[in-house]
């Protein structure tokens, strides 16, 4: 038996000594001999035909080594084609614009020079002439018959349509006591990691091998795509990541700049660096969340939800991201909308449109709108029926004797604990007392409000959900770990995760140390190098590490442990069952004199053929893969209390409480950090953030003084409480990466609306 020593405790982070002393290595810290710098010529127009590109003056500017446009690149590399799915129009595009630009900031040409400043000087000398076209800047305009077309060959700006029918909504609506119609619109906002995108491409003229140092969530996906598009043999292509300054979904796709920078390094035989500036990041780094849902819902006189009809429109922006297809988002929204609630009659229609705006990318909980709309709807229904919103939710949650079951969309609902989290949140926030205080405050002209939000988070996605979604998710699920015992008995873990703030160098090392029985200081976690890490399309994303990466790591660590014990058993001619590994040494139970410290294990494994491995190979080297299974839900109730100043419209968040059930925790401080960070983003999105476009398609929020993010002064202390169901699962940990950002917007919006009830204010956006 392994004694659990580290797992479950807030072990200090392995990453912190370097990060806290300024010795992290982010992509902009990569400096290579002979390195050149790239800058891009970008479109000032939302929609225009390119008449001509004149690079002659830029080419002779001091320090300029290369100026490229599509005409130069086209013979050398392929185009960019995103993932498709049935019925989805997927535009193919080139790294640098070809003929037409479709958003402000689209890269048209690239300058490579001796310094960034010289490259930028030359960018100003590239002369591009445009024939300006009508921009399409909102979803309604995009769908109009006379709309300008982004892709005339496709003959429509609608790129995807889907319709699903579950049960019999017509019959259910006929029985309704109340029917509500609401329109919910989420405004466009963005991931905004504090570190922008960037990369350093380093192509060796001697071997043709290309190394790309970048800031990315999924280095293997990057390599896969680079290889295809650059037509670069994959065995001559290596992608590397160091420390990453946040991503939240943005750095999962492959940027046009990535392609151009790699191509330039290959042409020049020298390293080329590109670091996105903030204006570029805000305009073209990726934006998210712009969705509109028209909802029709029916309830009976007791507030039981009878049926829902949803019509969703999402604005995907100008180009499909090389990563997650538009149909993916709508299908996850459809599959998860019923959540933990009893809903048996349900229609879902969705349309995805393309407009002259930034590319839609996944953002922390990319399907978050299903929770936002459902939980907003419950508050609207509660007011319509005159029922308390918490009570209404309790009436609609599946009861324990109805569970486990399949949701109407085919998702397995197993081990649901939302009733517990909701009741606990209600008690901890002091709900009844708050309602009394609210009445009292209103008398004094103060407007307090409270909002709740329940949701279940697939962390990771389970097979029934993947089936319900019905596309390309399968290859995204497996996780792999590879553990090697080194000659001195220290241990190296190679993971397919690509952490960018999640602390996996700590959490995964905790698991390895506990499973094998060694000190965490003797474990190193290696990520961010496609040459040595196991393949995975997603890297870190989708809240998959806690269950899937852990399962892989624990499996590989157990194999290592078994092999070490078998070695000692053979050496000592003792039964394996009588051996253990304690504090970094194999011991024979009951024979204190018999110990084999790990350094000796290492030496023996590498010097005695046949001891560690029957086939005579040396060393200890174990691989383990882990795939998803049913029941891996994280579940939460978020509760928010606000005060609204009705004169100024200012909202102050007085309390924010999360009651979370993510099973057992590997490192509670890291879990809480993930939850709080997500909540902060959710609050910030509602109160401050907006990727705003003008009517001419001009992008308006080009700096962090225009695109506002919540500061330490804008946020309350975020209270986090944990429940621990399912502690006996073989891998009892669930992901928490996305939930904070999924639950917070609904809880906050509900609270604001609750504060404004006396004014009859409805918040739809």
């Amino acid at each position: 038996m392994t004694i659990q020593r580290l797992t479950g405790t807030s072990v200090q982070r392995v990453e912190d000594p370097r990060i806290l002393t300024g010795r992290g290595r982010y992509v902009d810290d990569v400096v290579l001999p002979g390195m050149l710098h790239a800058a891009f010529v970008r479109s000032p127009h939302a929609h225009a035909r390119i008449v001509s590109i004149d690079t002659s003056e830029a080419k002779v500017m001091p320090g300029v080594r290369l100026v490229l446009s599509d005409a130069d690149l086209r013979p050398l590399i392929g185009d960019m084609t995103a993932n498709g799915s049935a019925g989805l129009f997927v535009a193919t595009y080139s790294a640098l614009a070809r003929d037409v630009v479709r958003l402000v900031g689209e890269p048209i040409a690239m300058v490579v020079a001796d310094s960034r400043a010289l490259a930028e000087d030359a960018v100003d000398r590239v002369v591009v002439r445009f024939d300006v076209l009508d921009p399409v800047i909102d979803m309604d305009a995009a769908m109009r018959d006379d709309a300008a077309l982004l892709y005339p060959d496709h003959r429509s700006n609608v790129i995807y349509r889907t319709e699903h029918r579950y049960g019999d909504t017509a019959a259910a609506f006929a029985d309704a006591a109340h029917v509500v119609h609401e329109r919910f619109l989420q405004h466009r906002h963005a991931n905004v990691p504090m570190e922008t995108r960037g990369g350093v491409a380093d192509c060796s003229p001697a071997t043709g091998a290309l190394e790309y140092h970048t800031s990315h969530q999924a280095p293997h996906a990057m390599r896969f795509q680079l290889s295809m598009i650059l037509r670069q043999p994959a065995h001559l292509l290596r992608v590397r990541c160091g420390d990453i300054g946040g991503s939240f979904g943005q750095k999962g796709g492959i940027g046009r700049e990535d392609i151009a920078v790699c191509a330039a390094s290959r042409m020049l035989g020298r390293p080329v660096k590109w670091i996105e500036d903030r204006a570029e990041n805000l305009a073209v780094g990726g934006q998210a969340r712009e969705e509109r849902l028209d909802v029709e819902a029916a309830i009976d006189a007791e507030g039981h939800l009878l049926a829902v009809r949803l019509k969703m429109v999402m604005d995907t922006g100008a180009y499909p991201q090389l990563g997650f297809p538009a149909s993916g988002y709508t299908n996850v929204v459809r599959s998860l909308f019923p959540g933990p609630y009893r809903l048996e009659h349900y229609d879902f229609d969705a349309i995805a449109v393309t407009t002259n705006k930034g590319t839609y990318v996944p953002y922390r909980g990319p399907w978050e709108v299903e929770t936002w709309v459902r939980e907003r709807l419950f508050d609207v229904l509660a007011r319509t029926a005159g029922i308390d919103p918490v009570e209404l939710r309790l009436r609609n949650l599946w009861t324990d004797d109805e569970l486990p079951r399949q949701s109407v969309t085919g998702v397995e609902l197993i081990k649901m604990t939302q009733r517990d989290t909701l009741l606990d949140a209600r008690d901890r926030i002091g709900y009844d007392a708050f309602r009394a205080e609210q009445v009292e405050a209103r008398r004094n002209g103060r407007h307090l409000g409270i909002g709740f939000c329940n949701f279940i988070e697939p962390a990771p996605f389970m097979p029934s959900l993947i089936k319900a979604i019905g596309f390309m998710a399968a290859p995204r699920t497996p996780q792999e770990a590879h553990i090697r015992v080194e000659p001195d008995g220290s241990v190296t873990l190679f993971t397919s995760q690509q952490p960018h703030g999640q602390g996996h160098e700590t959490t995964l090392a905790q698991l390895v140390a506990d499973e094998i029985g060694i000190d965490i200081a003797r474990v190193r976690v290696v990520h961010g190098d496609t040459q040595v890490t196991p393949f995975n399309f997603v890297g870190t994303g989708g809240s998959r590490a806690a269950t899937l990466a852990s399962g892989a790591v624990m499996g590989a660590a157990r194999q290592v442990r078994d092999r070490i014990l078998r070695m000692a058993a053979e050496l000592w001619e003792i039964d394996v069952a009588d051996l253990d590994i304690v504090d970094g040494a194999v011991v024979a139970i009951g024979v204190p004199s018999r110990t084999l410290p790990m350094p000796m294990v290492g030496v023996l494994a590498y010097t005695r053929p046949g001891l560690a491995n029957d086939d005579g190979s040396l060393g200890i080297d174990e691989h383990h893969a882990y795939i998803s299974y049913e029941g891996t839900w994280s579940q939460s109730t978020h509760c928010c209390v606000v005060e609204v100043d009705v004169e100024t419209g200012q909202v102050k968040v007085l309390r924010f409480l999360v009651v979370e059930d993510c099973g057992r925790m590997i490192n509670p401080a890291i879990v809480d950090g993930q939850v709080r960070g997500g909540v902060a983003q959710g609050i910030s999105a509602v109160l401050f953030e907006h990727s705003a476009y003008g009517p001419d398609g001009r992008y308006l929020a080009t700096s962090l003084t225009d695109y506002l993010i919540a500061t330490a002064n804008d946020l309350p202390h975020i209270e986090v409480v944990h429940h621990h169901s399912d502690p006996d699962d073989a891998v009892p940990f669930r992901g928490v990466g996305e939930g904070g950002a999924i639950g917070a917007p609904a809880a906050l919006t509900n609270a604001i609306e609750d504060a404004l009830v006396p004014f009859g204010v409805k918040i739809r956006e």
Binding site: I19, L20, T21, E195, S703, T711, A712
Partner: protein
């Protein structure tokens, strides 16, 4: 156009050591630190003066190195994140407190946060939570929601305060 018209020599003390470099007048202090002096602990999050990642101490006062021309730091005493600990391989009380409280995640905002926190703690050893939040409010962190950073600064203050018998705890 020909090459850069002029250059200036900038000499300053960085983390207690005299350093100098010959730079173009348009070079910013953050570029000087990161590129000429190879101190990459100070980060660039926006170059717009808005995120605070590039914050350093100039003669004891925090300043945004992305907005400060390098030549302005001529003759000044500059402290960066690399200079917060007394000796290489050690950490200051503030840095230790950050480690104990899991203050940061991705670490990109860290240099600026640590500098403004160090500035605050140099001025007062008993800040309230509201004062800590106010001091950090010019620096953006996208990962943490700030709670853990605020907790770490308060924890550091507690450890820096003299105890009743006069010694630092």
């Amino acid at each position: 156009m020909t090459g850069p018209a002029t250059t200036v020599e900038v000499t300053l003390r960085v983390n207690g050591e005299e350093r100098s470099a010959i730079v173009e007048p348009r070079r910013t202090l953050v570029e000087l630190l990161r590129e000429d002096l190879e101190l990459t602990g100070t980060h660039i999050g926006c170059e717009q003066g808005a995120c605070g990642s590039c914050t350093v101490l100039i003669d004891g006062a925090s300043a945004r190195a992305c907005l400060t021309p390098a030549f302005r730091a001529h003759g000044c005493e500059v402290v960066t994140i690399e200079g917060l600990a007394d000796a290489p391989g050690t950490m200051s009380v503030l840095q230790q407190a950050c480690m104990e409280r899991h203050a940061f995640q991705c670490g990109f905002c860290t240099p600026g946060m640590l500098i403004v926190a160090a500035e605050l703690l140099a001025e007062r050893d008993d800040p309230s939570e509201a004062e800590v939040r106010e001091a950090l409010s010019g620096n953006l962190c996208r990962c943490t929601g700030y709670d853990s950073i605020v907790a770490a600064v308060l924890h550091a203050a507690e450890r820096l305060r003299p105890t009743v018998d006069g010694a630092a705890s």
